[in-house]
């Protein structure tokens, strides 16, 4: 009985620790491999970043159109958009619903062309 327990414990220890080491070895190897590829990516990124620094649109064209639309609606006359600066960088890009919500809100709260009280 005692030797059975010993044998079973040995077996499960060998298999278990073996799989743990195998799994993490593979992960480590994958990371090492990815680092190699990464070096090249980073090199490319660095170059494109430098290029991008010169003068980049920090906003995609759809959003630009949306803003143009909003401005056109609000101003209601002649105008020219000279530049667009993003205010909420992080989440807004990710959440389509949030962007829409904002776009629609702007549409619904059209500023009257003259003060209301008049």
């Amino acid at each position: 009985m005692a030797s059975d327990v010993f044998g079973f414990g040995l077996e499960i220890t060998l298999v278990g620790l073996g799989v743990v080491f195998l799994g993490l070895l593979l992960v480590a190897a994958a990371i090492a491999l990815m680092r190699r590829l990464d070096e090249r990516w980073r090199e490319g990124e660095r170059r494109s970043e430098a290029a991008a620094l010169e003068r980049t649109p920090t906003i995609d064209s759809t959003t630009l159109v949306l803003i143009a639309a909003a401005v056109a609606t609000l101003v209601g006359g002649r105008h020219r958009i000279r530049g667009v600066r993003r205010l909420l960088p992080g989440e807004s890009a990710a959440s389509a619903w949030a962007v829409t919500g904002r776009a629609v809100l702007q549409g619904s709260h059209v500023i009257a062309h003259r003060p209301r009280g008049r």
């Binding site: 077996e11 799989v19 639309a69 990710a94 389509a96 619903w97 949030a98 829409t100 776009a103 549409g107």
Partner: protein, 374 residues
């Protein structure tokens, strides 16, 4: 070395099939589309990773698969199979949606009805292909372009096709910018695409408060089967608009919506193991879904042209495509197509009206199909 044998028998490598490999590739594709192409990432990242989880092969009996009773995944999947995730997502969407666009332009609501022709066209085609009525209805609802609605209806009418229907619906929603533009261009003339519409008028706060209550009562009386979805949608909207329950609306549209989105996406993805998913039926479902989206787009556009025959204040027929809800992507598509002809023509605010009306429209359609076929 019995333990080793047990372990290998339960292992992934022994059970790997070509189907699983294919699905893993699909999962990676979804993740790539979401992360690199920014196609509906809030949906495709959870679904894509779920596909990976669902297609790691393993011996059954470990109690970890989504179809094994008592497993973690199966417990989290219950919200899909028993259909309560979708209404809670509608609650969050309601707490997020501004219906002002509809309120300031009520006749555009009809475009959201016309686009539902896609649902019934696909239903018909599915019947013709030999699907029985409930399955055909669940396949048709893909044309509603609403993930939660599609999942809700298929959980009731076609649980065995739920994965395929949900994946098809979300895939085509992500592909709306690819599917719609050619159809719009085909069906409209450049002159029509240049029609300018008057800017939306402002809407009073009181009207925005009344709207969810009135709209709920009307739609619920017409189609009680849609109560689960529309009740939650309009309830969420009332929380948002009432002005006195802002903290509830906040939670509904943030923590609540995000948590359900994570669980729904992940488990729907995980439900697509190759054996169940890679079937001839799935291919048919995908084909029917594509047709359904195309037909819905055409329906919306053509109905706008029809309305122009009877009205002096012309509608730009492009915005008809937004009746295919897929909020807000199809409204953006409308804007992009309109801007091709005239960069100063801003139709997106008008397109939001059929867009949100399309959500209501497909929920009503789901209610009718549920009542007729269950």
């Amino acid at each position: 070395m019995e333990t080793l044998d047990d372990f290998l028998a339960a292992g992934a490598l022994g059970n790997l099939s070509w189907g699983n490999l294919g699905m893993l590739a699909v999962g990676v594709l979804f993740l790539w589309l979401a992360v690199h192409k920014d196609y509906e990432p809030l949906l495709l990242v959870p679904i894509g990773f779920g596909i990976l989880i669902g297609n790691i092969p393993y011996a059954t009996g470990l109690g970890i698969g989504i179809y094994e009773s008592g497993s973690v995944l199966s417990i989290l999947y219950q919200g899909v199979t028993s259909g309560w995730y979708p209404p809670l997502i509608f609650l969050g969407i309601g707490a997020m949606t501004d219906f002002s666009c509809m309120l300031s332009n009520p006749r555009l609501v009809l475009l959201g009805a016309a686009a539902q022709v896609g649902i019934f066209g696909a239903l018909w085609a599915a019947l013709a292909l030999g699907f029985d009525a409930p399955h055909a209805a669940a396949i048709g609802i893909i044309g509603g372009a609403d993930g939660p609605t599609a999942i809700f209806l298929s959980s009731k009418l076609a649980p065995d096709y739920l994965g395929a229907i949900a994946i098809a619906a979300y895939s085509y929603m992500a592909l709306v910018p690819v599917i719609q533009p050619p159809i719009i261009r085909l069906l409209t003339s450049p002159a029509e695409r240049r029609i300018r519409m008057k800017p939306n008028r402002p809407v009073s706060k009181r009207m925005r408060i009344l709207f969810p209550v009135v709209a709920f009562l009307l739609t619920a009386f017409i189609a009680p089967g849609s109560i689960s979805l529309l009740g939650m949608l309009f309830f969420g909207n009332l929380l948002k608009e009432s002005g006195v329950t802002e903290r509830l609306a906040q939670t509904a549209r943030n923590a609540f919506l995000d948590a359900i989105t994570i669980l729904l996406g992940l488990t729907v993805g995980a439900s697509t193991d190759a054996e169940r998913f890679l079937t001839p039926a799935s291919i048919q479902i995908f084909l029917l879904g594509a047709g359904s989206f195309a037909l819905a787009t055409a329906g919306g556009v053509l109905f706008a042209k029809l309305m122009n025959l009877f009205s002096s204040e012309k509608i730009n027929p492009i915005i008809g495509c937004a009746g295919v809800s897929a909020v807000p992507d199809s409204a953006r598509v409308a804007q992009l197509v309109a801007a091709e002809e005239d960069p100063q023509n801003f139709v997106i605010m008008h397109a939001m009206a059929p867009n949100v009306a399309g959500v209501i429209g497909s929920a009503i359609a789901a209610g009718v199909l549920l009542a007729a076929l269950r």
